[in-house]
Symmetry: C2
Subunit: 456 residues, 2 copies
Amino acid sequence: MRRQRTDVPLLYAKHVAIMSLNQLSATTALARMQTGEISSEALLRACLKRIDERDKDVRAWATLDREGAIAAAHEVDGARRPESCNIRPLLGIPIGVKDIIATANLPTEYNSPIYRGHKSGSDASVVELLRKAGAIVLGKTQTVEFAAHGWPAPTRNPRELSRTPSGSSSGSAAAVADFMVPLAIGTQTGGSLIRPASYCGCTGFKPTYGTVSTEGVKLISASLDTVGWYARSVADIGLVAYALEITNELAITPKPVETLKIGVCRTHYWDRALPATRNAIEEAARRFAAAGATIEECEWSPEFAEANELQELVMSGEAYFAFLNLFRAHGEELSDSIRKRIVRVPADRLLTAVDKAAALRPRFDRLARGYDAILTPSASGEAPVGHHIPADPSFNGLWTLLHTPCITLPGLVGPAGMPVGIQLVASRGADKLLLATAAAVAPLLQTTDVNRRALL
Amino acid sequence: MRRQRTDVPLLYAKHVAIMSLNQLSATTALARMQTGEISSEALLRACLKRIDERDKDVRAWATLDREGAIAAAHEVDGARRPESCNIRPLLGIPIGVKDIIATANLPTEYNSPIYRGHKSGSDASVVELLRKAGAIVLGKTQTVEFAAHGWPAPTRNPRELSRTPSGSSSGSAAAVADFMVPLAIGTQTGGSLIRPASYCGCTGFKPTYGTVSTEGVKLISASLDTVGWYARSVADIGLVAYALEITNELAITPKPVETLKIGVCRTHYWDRALPATRNAIEEAARRFAAAGATIEECEWSPEFAEANELQELVMSGEAYFAFLNLFRAHGEELSDSIRKRIVRVPADRLLTAVDKAAALRPRFDRLARGYDAILTPSASGEAPVGHHIPADPSFNGLWTLLHTPCITLPGLVGPAGMPVGIQLVASRGADKLLLATAAAVAPLLQTTDVNRRALL
């Protein structure tokens, strides 16, 4: 089943002798911009070149702001000063923004005919913050219709075009994984951030619920919607976390691996994990242990058994109110799928689910605080073949419900040669610890020929 | 202390022999429009006339859309059909919209220089729904800066211009109380809906948290922000509730008073209630009992003692993230008050408060389900003299925290002759029951000369 794919070596960009600028991590690019070795404009043009080569196939972008972005990069290059990296930690770095997030200068279309060409009057809070941190919005990335149960994004998995990148943050994950841009913003209400990262083979981060303003982001489920982002390294994830005041240090200091205590949590849904995922979890645990970390089976309490069901109920119940204006004013322009799947949940059922979810959160935190991180699947397996595959939220809904920070790390591969992420989860508010843990273990997941064989 | 105020008779509009159209409730106006007795345009012009006479003093409006509203009314009048009232329950009714809520055709300025002249690209969800129900947006109403701790609205209390209307939904409450418009939309994160209604003497309703989408509304505190509205009758409150699918019947059927069981709840903050409020609660309880309702002291549990403190913590903690982009990008254009009072709450303190709040909600619901409604103060007293008075959230923060539906009913007056509302509260999701209860008792609060004396 092994195929020749010309882009595979890019996965292991570290090993490529001569890297194009678009392959650089944001952290590396920033360091080289500081020394004057490269310019923001050159970086941007390299990203655009990659997009020009690849996006007719990958279809990650809904809109590009070529001229605006080049002009912004040019301006950054003319005004760059040595001290600016702490104040403007993303100065001159191009980013992608999921097309359910408002941008003042570019259309925000939600992958819906209702909003074709729609211009919001201002940037979403997160976009304004990232621009203020120096980021340059290169364009808007493709999304599932309203990031809900609707029309899939046209995006294809950059690792193998016949496969889905998953959604709903399809374009953001694919663009980062395919080296079109070093950072991109997405959202998660079910599994919309973590699953696409796992399928496409990049790093995806969902911070603790509530720490990034959702103002200007399409509302789906007020108590679940979370803004997160993609990068190709944990260090880059950390740059954005710092820019958004989720952490207080520009550079993440990895925790020494031998001090780490990691709990393995197979969840109540382990029977839905395909061999690719099962192997990835076992392999990650083995590698972490071999590097000196303490690995324990997590004491997974029966009280969490209904977490995914609760997430479904809360999401649907809240989404009904969030979509009511669209149902009323634009019902015929919504996909059948949205119209059929977003239905009113009786108030008592919804409130019971909301209350149960709220009660589970501190209980999970107490459990999670016994570890540096909990190791758990990012998705049920490799990206399936096809582009209209219903997403399996089994390994994501519960963490969204629990409001925990989550990160998925790439490196491992499955029997079809596709990426398989592993997810690390921590207690609410422990975002910094989670990133320090992820930074420590991420290098252990790099797939060499030797350990790739062990997986197959 | 009794003053001559020319607008007092309008309070008791029922007793005025010849009413101007602007004094009609929406329900009455709709009925007369159905019979062709009046037109939407005539109603709108009467509202504009009232605004022209009064708004130089009251200052309720930030922006008016005279021509647009007249054109819309004209169009409604040309196309009105007998069957439309269930499908378009607000057809031809002018409304005011608090200026932190996005409108496609009018500026949304948040009472902030940052957004002077700002146009959002689309309507907030609630505005789109109300337009779809036939409402005509007459204009935007004045608000406290970002509905947070900032600059007060320029609005004055229409009952006595030297007094505050309170905030943050200042303009919406004043416009409705002063017969400038029959309905207006506001928001509550602390006491921003209920307190201004009490001070200005109109009916104010905050539905169960989560039942009205906050999309397009300035985010302050994601787990507290609630859209609500003002009217001059419970029936009118019900029209909007129906339009937003909070209730399933156009007309509220009042519960027979003699079947009502009402719990009196003085809360833990009774010592902050001024005589005006204490008398209002006792008087309301006395009247309800005299009309046949069962009145009981509510068993108010000590566990609710910290509810206001929790509300403050959650609001501040969440507001920090909601305002981060403004702090970073526009810090110098924010009021000192916002910059000083919205500060980061450590994650563990915030999460503890969030969890405690979540645990209190079902406990309060169980208590509230023992009654048709709980009778409790709307505010600590009459509207104070002055326009820069810090708002006392003692009788509101806890209900916002508990996510309950709340309604404040006018009619009673205090020693200074100013209105004093009484608040009815129910369990989450019991909005319809609350409105049926409110509709039953609201007429009992009408202040005649005889019972006015009893209050003084």
